[in-house]
């Protein structure tokens, strides 16, 4: 179940990416956070408790939204735009 709810309907290019091994589409101009949370309800697991997390401030301050890509690269989801072919893993610590 998605967390974020789109209200914008202006036509935009679709961007294909991979979310936990599943083929998904986002829209051009989406951050990685938007791309994930318009189709899932968490970005990562907290390192200690393993509880799901989905960010807090959305402005690059709280650092709660770091996610991992399949190649091990980490990125801050609220300030990074989604790119075609990105392979995101939400089961890991960010």
């Amino acid at each position: 179940m998605p967390l974020l709810y789109r209200i914008e309907s202006a036509p935009r290019e679709r961007i294909a990416f991979e979310l936990d091994g599943r083929a998904c589409t986002a829209l051009e101009g989406d951050t990685v956070l938007t791309a994930i949370l318009t189709q899932a309800s968490a970005l990562r697991r907290a390192e200690f408790s393993g509880a799901p997390r989905a960010g807090l401030c959305l402005m690059g301050a709280c650092q709660d939204c770091w996610v991992q890509l399949a190649d091990g690269e980490r990125l801050r989801a609220c300030t990074t735009f989604v790119e075609p072919g990105m392979r995101v893993r939400t089961g890991a610590g960010g």
Binding site: L4, R12, E28, G29, L56, C57, C62, Q63
Partner: protein, 461 residues
């Protein structure tokens, strides 16, 4: 050099350009505007009226002005300043590091929500009020179809109204301060009558839309297993539960002061903001020659005041560098205008005071630091068992503020808990010292020694 391209940074740049300078503006954002006038990606092609509401005129004026001057400004978007040392900023852009020397530095670093958390605030779906706005303005999304807005501050009613008028269902607005009619009740708010009227308008519109508004609320907990499903709260001795898909909350704003710390500016406790802030004179000069402050990063006064203090700081920098400003009488005019903002701000803090009993009421199991998952109980036990009375001591012993956000989100809460546990005043527990890098940076960075680097050889190490 200017750090930050919000209203303060943009107006500072304008003054420097008017005096014949070519300022460097470094900004973490993808486009200029800061948080308050945050612009969506170009591909979204959204109307400013829709984005900024009543503030569309103001937003357009300052955004367009910056656009017009772009050829005379070295604007570096998506660039993080992570350290300041020896009059050199360390800049990180697209994985490449770059040192840049400055003659004068204007810090216009802005603010984030001041957060006094409640149990369950780490659940997916719980966001700050600022985040709720960013989702809407920058990404065309609501944080959920049915939202509770909670906490206090002028942003509470503004964001609730923005969501309600963009098709969101606002399940409730829960103010931890007193009744929502306060917009016109506090005399100091009339120092800026138009702003007070707007606040009253949002409240009236929300009422007309049938949104439940409650004051004097205590937030108990966000409920849900893997995501938020409800908010439990109390008012006047009665407990309530409001079902929702998301919660937006905050208790006013908190200045981003880490770079002033890196620049070694002196700090002092500010009783209005209830926070330690870099000291400044009426023109934005810090204790460090050549370093200036502007906008909400220097103390919370809001976007309109930020435009003024940005221009004022730039004029001070020009004066100190011996460069004539374009408008010789500008500084006096600006300082007069800023006075009304300071009065208004004192009124806001009275009307939207953060909950006084927050530290006393916080349960032991509350996670205060969401990075390291440190609870209120652990902080209290540390104060009790070790006698810790100072924030950096508490940090060393518990790791509070040592996580990836470096205390940005937990410091207001942790310092209140420590002061309460130690039986002292908030200012007596001090403040967390900033540490470089002020935000996470990759362990491997490419060091840029391209010809565009203007760092003198002897400082580039």
């Amino acid at each position: 050099m200017i750090v930050g391209a919000g209203p303060a940074g943009m107006r500072a740049a304008e003054q420097l350009v008017a005096a014949g300078q070519r300022p460097v503006v470094v900004d973490e954002g993808a486009r200029h505007g800061g948080q308050i006038y945050r612009q969506p990606p170009v591909v979204m092609r959204r109307e400013r009226r829709d984005l900024y509401g009543f503030e569309a005129g103001r937003a357009s004026a300052v955004l367009d002005r910056f656009d017009d001057l772009r050829s005379q400004i070295d604007y570096r978007a998506r660039t993080l300043v992570w350290q300041i040392e020896a009059n050199t900023l360390q800049l990180l852009h697209a994985g490449r590091n770059h040192g840049m020397h400055f003659d004068a530095l204007i810090l216009a670093t802005g603010a984030t929500d001041r957060v006094l958390p409640f149990p369950g605030w780490t659940l997916p779906g719980v966001y700050t009020l600022g985040a709720a706005q960013v989702a809407l303005k920058f990404q065309g999304c609501l944080i959920g179809p049915r939202v509770v807005f909670a906490g206090t501050g002028p942003l509470l009613y503004l964001v609730a109204w923005q969501y309600a008028s963009h098709g969101g269902q606002v399940a409730a607005v829960l103010d931890t301060a007193s009744a929502s009619a306060k917009w016109l009740a506090a005399p100091r708010l009339l120092a800026r009558p138009a702003v007070a009227m707007k606040g009253a308008y949002f409240v009236a519109r929300l009422r007309m839309m049938g949104v439940p508004l409650h004051g004097g609320v205590t937030l108990i907990r966000a409920e849900g297993a893997d995501r938020v499903t409800a908010l439990a709260w109390r008012s006047g001795g009665t407990s309530h539960t409001t079902e929702c898909d998301a919660i937006g909350f905050g208790h006013g704003l908190r200045s981003e002061t880490q770079l002033a710390d890196m620049a070694r500016c002196a700090f002092d406790y500010d009783p209005i903001d209830q926070a330690w802030l870099p000291t400044q004179d009426s023109a934005g000069r810090t204790s460090v020659p050549g370093v200036y402050l502007a906008g909400d990063g220097a103390g919370i006064l809001g976007a309109d005041a930020a435009e003024l203090s940005g221009a004022r700081a730039a004029l001070a920098a020009l004066e100190d560098l011996g460069i004539a400003p374009a408008e010789p009488q500008g500084a006096k005019r600006i300082e007069r205008a800023l006075h009304a903002h300071a009065t208004f701000r004192r009124g806001l803090e009275t009307a939207f005071a953060p909950p006084e009993r927050w530290a006393a009421d916080a349960p032991d199991e509350l996670i205060v630091c969401r990075c390291e998952e440190i609870t209120a109980g652990e902080l209290r036990a540390c104060a009790r068992e070790t006698g810790a009375r100072e924030m950096n001591r508490l940090k060393a012993l518990t790791r509070i503020g040592m996580g990836r956000c470096q205390g940005r989100m937990c410091a207001p809460a942790a310092s209140r808990l420590l002061a309460h546990a130690a039986g002292c005043e908030l200012h007596e527990v001090g403040r967390l010292r900033g540490q470089a890098p002020i935000k996470p940076i990759p362990i491997v960075m490419l060091h840029d020694r391209a010809p565009s680097t203007i760092v003198p050889e002897d400082q580039d190490d």
